[in-house]
C-alpha cells in the first residue's frame, strides 16, 4: 500500500467506519480511512446512549441486531483486545399508563413475530429486575438478551485494532468528492486537493454523507436531528439493564464506571438550530431529568457532570442505507443509521467490509438498498 492507494477507502472514522476497516484488515485488504474532523468517533459514535438493543427495532433492521447480539457482541472485548463494557443484562421498556402498556404490547408483538424473545411483565416482576423503579410504573416489556456497551470505547477499540492491523487512518482530511475512474468509484479527493485511490469506496459519514454523495449524483433522504445525552457522576452500582420507556422520553443505562448515561429529547429536536457545532439546547436536559426521575426517583441527588448533543442522520423511513448500487460499481453506501446505528455497528462494519470486498454478505441487505426511495403515489 502506498501513501494514497489502498484496496478500500473508507470515508468516516466513526464506530461503523472503524468496524468496517477492522473487518477489511482481517481479510488481508489494505485500507485507508479518511476522517474530516480531528477525532475518531467525532459524530454520533461518541454521542449516543450506548444501547445494544434488539427490542424496539424496525423489523427490517432486527435481523442485523439479533445477529450482532448472538454472534458479535459477546466476544467483542476479546476480539478487539480491550474491554468495551458490554453488558447483556436485558432491556426494560417501562410504562406508567394503560396507553403505555398498549404501545409496549404492540412492540412486543412485532418483536415476537420476528422471533425475538420479548415479553410483557407486570410491575412486580419489573421491580424484581430493577428495584429502583418508581411506584408509578405499572408494567414493562422485557427483552432479556438486550444490553448496552460504551460507544466511545467500542469506536476506539475498532480503531485501535484496525490501526494495529495496518489500516491507515487520517484525521483532519475532508473529502470533497468521490470520482469514477474506468467505470468504478476509485478516486477520493480531499479538500486540500490530495487524491486517494482504491478499488472500492465506502461512505460512512453520517448526515454529512450527502455532501459527498452529491459528487456521484446521489442523495439520501435524511435530516439531521439533534439528540442530547447527559452523564451523571459515578454512582454506586445500582442496575445494569438498558432502560427505555413506552413514550421514548428517555433511554439509558449505568456504565461500568458507575455513571448513568441517559439520552432523551424535549420534543423540538427537529427544529433545533445549528451554530456550526452541535450545541445542547437549554430545555432538553431539564426535560430529560424530569423524565428519568419520574421512573427512577432514587437518582434525584445524582449530579450531572456533563451533557452533550449530536446529530442523528434520520432517514425518511428510519432505517439505514447499506449496500451497493449498479449505477456506480465499487461504491458502498453506509449512512442514515437514524440514531440506532451503535447497537448494530459491529454487524454493519462486517457487512460493509463484505460489500467492499466483493463478497456475499452474511445477512441480506436488500431492505437497505439505496434505490428503495420512491414517491408515495
Amino acid at each position: 500500500m502506498s501513501a494514497t492507494t489502498a484496496d478500500v477507502i473508507i470515508i468516516g472514522a466513526g464506530a461503523i467506519g472503524s468496524a468496517a476497516a477492522y473487518n477489511l484488515t482481517k481479510k488481508g485488504l489494505s485500507v485507508i480511512v479518511l476522517e474530516r474532523s480531528g477525532y475518531i468517533g467525532n459524530g454520533g459514535s461518541s454521542r449516543n446512549g450506548g444501547g445494544v438493543r434488539q427490542s424496539g427495532r424496525d423489523p427490517r433492521e432486527l435481523p442485523l441486531a439479533m445477529y450482532g447480539v448472538k454472534n458479535l457482541w459477546p466476544s467483542l472485548s476479546e476480539e478487539l483486545g480491550m474491554d468495551v463494557e458490554y453488558y447483556q443484562r436485558g432491556n426494560l421498556r417501562l410504562g406508567k399508563t394503560e396507553e403505555h402498556l398498549r404501545i409496549l404490547r404492540g412492540l412486543t408483538q412485532n418483536a415476537n413475530e420476528c422471533g425475538l424473545d420479548v415479553r410483557m411483565i407486570d410491575a412486580a416482576e419489573a421491580r424484581e429486575i430493577c428495584p429502583y423503579l418508581s411506584g408509578e410504573v405499572i408494567g414493562a416489556s422485557w427483552c432479556p438478551t438486550d444490553g448496552h456497551a460504551n460507544p466511545m470505547l467500542v469506536t476506539l477499540a475498532f480503531y485501535r485494532a484496525a490501526r494495529r492491523n495496518g489500516a491507515r487512518f487520517i484525521t483532519g482530511c475532508e473529502v470533497t468528492a468521490i470520482q469514477k475512474s474506468r467505470g468504478r468509484a476509485r478516486r477520493v479527493v480531499s479538500s486540500t486537493g490530495e487524491i486517494f485511490e482504491a478499488d472500492s469506496v465506502v461512505l460512512v459519514a453520517g448526515y454529512d454523507s450527502n455532501a459527498v454523495l452529491a459528487s456521484l449524483g446521489f442523495f439520501v433522504p435524511m435530516s439531521p436531528l439533534l439528540m442530547e445525552v447527559l452523564v451523571t457522576e459515578e454512582m454506586p452500582p445500582m442496575f445494569y439493564q438498558m432502560l427505555g420507556t413506552a413514550m421514548a422520553d428517555f433511554y439509558g443505562h449505568q456504565s461500568s464506571h458507575g455513571s448513568f448515561v441517559f439520552g432523551g429529547s424535549s420534543g423540538y429536536e427537529a427544529y433545533n438550530r445549528n451554530n456550526g457545532t452541535p450545541v445542547s439546547s437549554s430545555i432538553t436536559a431539564p426535560s430529560m431529568c424530569r423524565a428519568v426521575l419520574g421512573y427512577f426517583p432514587a437518582l434525584s441527588e445524582a449530579k450531572i457532570v456533563r451533557t452533550w448533543a449530536g446529530w442523528i442522520d434520520e432517514c425518511a423511513d428510519h432505517v439505514p442505507v447499506i449496500g451497493l448500487t449498479d449505477e456506480v460499481p465499487g461504491f458502498v453506501f453506509g449512512c442514515a443509521f437514524s440514531g440506532h446505528g451503535f447497537g448494530i455497528s459491529p454487524v454493519a462494519g462486517m457487512l460493509l467490509a463484505e460489500l467492499a470486498a466483493g463478497e456475499t454478505t452474511t445477512l441480506d441487505v436488500s431492505a437497505f438498498a439505496y434505490d428503495r426511495f420512491k414517491a408515495k403515489i
Partner: protein, 533 residues
Amino acid sequence: MKRYDLIVVGAGPAGLSAAAEAAAHGLGVAVFDENSRPGGQLFKQIHKFFGSKEHKAKIRGYDIGAGLLREAEGLGVKVYLNSPVTGMYLDREIVAETDGAVSHYRADAIVVATGASENMVAFDGWTLPGVMGAGAAQTMMNINRVRPGSRVLMLGSGNVGLVVGYQLLQAGCELAAVVDAAPRVGGYGVHAAKLARCGVPFFLSHTIVKAEGETRVTGVVIGRVDETWNIVPGTQKHFDADTICVAAGLSPSTRLLLMAGCEMYEPVPGGGRLPVCDEFTGKTSVQGIYAAGDVSGIEEASSAMIEGRAAGAAAAAELGYISGGELKARLDKLETALASLREGMFAPKNRGKVFVKTDEGYDISDSLLRNGYLADGEATKYPGVKSVAGIHPVIECTQNIPCNPCQDACPKGCIKVGTNIVSLPAVDEKAGCIGCGMCVASCSGQAVFLVNEDVGGGFATVTAPYEFLPVPQKGERGVALDRSGAPVCEAEIVDVRTSPSFDRTFLLTFRVPGEQCSRARFWRREVRRFGRD
C-alpha cells in the same frame, strides 16, 4: 423568560465594574455569581493595589470590592449570589441555578467575567492532603479565616506566589521557602523583597521532587533543575512542611465563552485559549457577547476593572443607551487609564521577556531576581536611594512597575515618578522631607523606608512598614534584619506610628548603629545572636 438588558456572569472586579458602568448608563443589569459573596478575588486581596489614583492605588482589594458592590447596588444592579451559571446557550440565553432550581434568562448583551483558575503542577505526592493551590490557601486564611497549615512551602515566584506567601506570614504561618523552576523571580521584585527580609529563602531554578507523607504532607524535597528541567543529582534539599502551595499561574475560565461559540485563539502555545476580542471592550466574535477581566487574558485586578467599565460602556452603546460619540469619549478616558497599567516590564506584552536594564538604563539587580533581595551596596545605584543628611525617604523600587502613590503621598514633593507611572521613583534630596511617613504607608510594595543616618551617639534610625501582629511597642528591643532576613544588629523600637491614612500599615522606627542604616530593613522581636552577654 426573564430578560435583562445586560447579564454579567461573575461578580469579581471586571464583572461588578461592567455592571456598574452599564447601570449608570441606564441599562437593566443582573450579575450572577456562584459564590455566596460578591467581589471575586478582591475580598481575598488584602494588600494595597498598585497603579495610580484612578486605579485605586494603595487601597486594599477588599475595600475596592466593597466600594464596587455599593456602587453597583446603588445603581439598581440585581446581584444573584449562590447562583452558578450552568450554561450559555444560543442567542444570549443563560441557565442559572438558584435555591435548588434552575431558571432561564435572556439578555440583549452578556459580559462574561468569569475570571481565571489556578494552573497545577504535577509532582510525586501532589495528591496528598496539604498540597493546594496558592489561591486555596488565600481563600482559607482571608475568607474562611483558617490557617491552611503551620509551615508552608510555596512553589511559584510570580505575584500570586509572592503575595500569598506574604499573606501566609501575616496569618501567622511559617513560610519554609519560595521555590520556582524558573531562573528568576517572576513577580514584582518589591513583593519578593518583602518576603526575603522576613527571612524566607528563595530557591530559583529549583522544583519540587516530591511531597512526603502518608496521609498528609509532612515534608518536601526540592532539587535544582538544569536547562532541560531535569533534577540535577545531589542538589536535593528537604524541608519540614505540612502544606505546599502551588502558584503556577492562572488560566482563563473560558468555558462559557466556548459554549457560546466565541472564536478563540491561543497566543502562547499551551497557555490556554483566549477569546478573539477587542483588547479593550472585550467584544467577542459572537454578537452581544463581551469578555472582561482575566477571562480575556490574565492581568491584574486593576486592569480588569477598567476592562469591565469598557465592556459595560460598549454594551450600553450597542443597546442604544449612549451615542457613539459618548462611547468614544468614555473609552478614550478608560483607555488612557488602561494603557498606563499595560506599560513596564511586567506588561502583558512583555511576558516572557528578560529585562537586564530598566527603562532609565539602571541595571536590574541579579540578586533581586535570584534571591529575592537587593545585595548589599546595590540599592544606592537607584534614583530612589540617596544618602543625605537628616530624615529622608529611601525607595528601593528598582523595576518599572505601574505605580505612583509614593509621589502623590509626599506633601513636600520629595518623590518624583513623573507622568509615566512605570518610571522608577527618584528622591529629590533638596526638597525638605518632614518624616511624615505617608510615602512609607502608601507604597503597595512596601519598598519605601525613612532613614536618618545620624540621630546622635553614632546611631541611625530606620522607619519601615509593618503589617504583622503583635505590633511592637516603643522601647522594645529586638534585632534588625537585613534585606535577606539575616540579623545584623540589635535594634530598639523608638517609635510606632499608626493613622487611618496609613490603612492598617504600622510604621516602625528602630534605632541601629549608624553603619547599619543602609542594611537594616526589618525588625524582629527575638533576640538571638545579639543578646547581651
